[in-house]
Subunit: 203 residues, 2 copies
C-alpha cells in the first residue's frame, strides 16, 4: 500500500516539482537575467531549498538548458510555423505571436533579457540564440521569397533584407515596449511594416 502509493506519487510529484521549478526559473530569469538570478531565489518560489533544486537540476546551467528546451518543445506555435506553407499565412502567425506576447510580458522579458546576455560567446545560451535567430530568419525569408516570386512584394523590396529586418524589428520593439509600454504600439507597428512591403495589405 504505502509502497505503491509513494512510488507512483513520487513519480508524479517529481514531474510536478520539475514543472514548478521551471516555472519559477522562467519568472526569475525574466526579472533578473540568467547571471543575475540565484538558485536560492528560484528554489524559494518553487517551495523548496536550493539544495533541493539541485537534486532535480544538477547545475545552474542544466536548469537554463531545461528552461530553453521546455519552451521549444512546449511552444506549439513553433511547429505550426514549420508546417504552414510560406506566404501571407506565416506572416499572420508572426503577428498572432506578437499579440500573444503582448498579453504575456513575462515571456517577452525572458527572451529579451537572455538574448542580450547571450550575445557573449561564452554564455551558456549563446548557441541556442544563434540557432534561434537563424531559424526565425529562415522562416521569414521563405515567406518573403515566396511572396516575391508571386509578385506580391513591392518593387525594389529585397526578401532577404526584409526577413532580417522583420525579426530585428520584433526584438527591438519588445525591448522598447518593455521599457515604456504606453509609448509603443508593438502589434500595430509590426503590421504596418508588413503592409508596407506588400503590394496589398496582409488581411
Amino acid at each position: 500500500m504505502m509502497g505503491a502509493v509513494s512510488a507512483t506519487g513520487g513519480y508524479l510529484k517529481g514531474r510536478l516539482r520539475r514543472q514548478d521549478i521551471l516555472g519559477a526559473a522562467i519568472e526569475v530569469y525574466a526579472e533578473a537575467g540568467y547571471h543575475g538570478s540565484s538558485l536560492r531565489e528560484i528554489a524559494k518560489r518553487a517551495g523548496i531549498t536550493h539544495a533541493g533544486l539541485i537534486y532535480y537540476f544538477p547545475t545552474k546551467e542544466a536548469l537554463l538548458a531545461a528552461v530553453l528546451e521546455h519552451r521549444d518543445t512546449q511552444d506549439a506555435d513553433r511547429e505550426r510555423f514549420a508546417t504552414t506553407p510560406p506566404g501571407r499565412e506565416v506572416l499572420r502567425r508572426f503577428i498572432t505571436l506578437a499579440e500573444h506576447n503582448v498579453r504575456n510580458p513575462g515571456v517577452v522579458d525572458l527572451y529579451a533579457r537572455l538574448a542580450a546576455e547571450a550575445v557573449a560567446a561564452d554564455h551558456p545560451a549563446h548557441e541556442y540564440f544563434q540557432r534561434h535567430y537563424r531559424t526565425a530568419r529562415d522562416i521569414a525569408l521563405k515567406s518573403f521569397q515566396a511572396l516575391a516570386d508571386r509578385g506580391e512584394l513591392r518593387d525594389g523590396v529585397d526578401p532577404n533584407a526584409t526577413a532580417v529586418a522583420f525579426i530585428a524589428l520584433m526584438d527591438g520593439l519588445q525591448v522598447q515596449w518593455l521599457t515604456a509600454a504606453e509609448d509603443v504600439d508593438l502589434v500595430g507597428i509590426l503590421k504596418s511594416f508588413v503592409d508596407n512591403v506588400l503590394t496589398s495589405p496582409l488581411d
Copy 2:
C-alpha cells in the same frame, strides 16, 4: 614646491584616473552587464584596488551614472543630431552612427546589455533608457514628419510608426549582429529600410 606640484599633479592624476576607471567600466559593462560586473574587476583593469575605485565613485550605482553621463556629454553626435534640421540629413546621420557602431562593437555591446537589463523598473538605468528611447524616437519622428510634409514619403507610410520602427530596428539589428555578425549586414538593412519608405533613395 612639493605642494604646488602635488596639488596640480594630483588634480590631473585624479582626472586621468577617473578616465581610466570609466573606460574600464564601459569595457566590463559591455562584457557582463551592470549587475554581472564587479567593482573589483573594473578596478583591476584600471590598475587600482576596488577600495581605490570607491574613493573616486562612492557606490556601484554612482559609477554607472557617471558612465551614462560621460557617454551623453562626450557623444558629439548627439549634439549634431539636435542641430541638424529634420529631414534626410538626420537619417543619414543615423546611418553614419550605425557605421561607427559596427566599427566599435564595445559600444554596441554596452548599450544592448544595459538596455535589456534596464527594462526592469527598479534598475538604476531604467529612467535613463526611457529618456534615451523617447529622445531617439522624437528625433526620428521629426525627420519622417518633415519628409511627409514635403511629399517625400511613399503613400500610406505613417511617420509615427516609421519612427518607432526605425529605432526598434536599429536596436534589434544590433543584438542579432552581436550574436552572429557574419549573418547580418546591419548598415545595409538599415539603408534599405529607409529607402523603402522614401519616394527616392537616401543618397
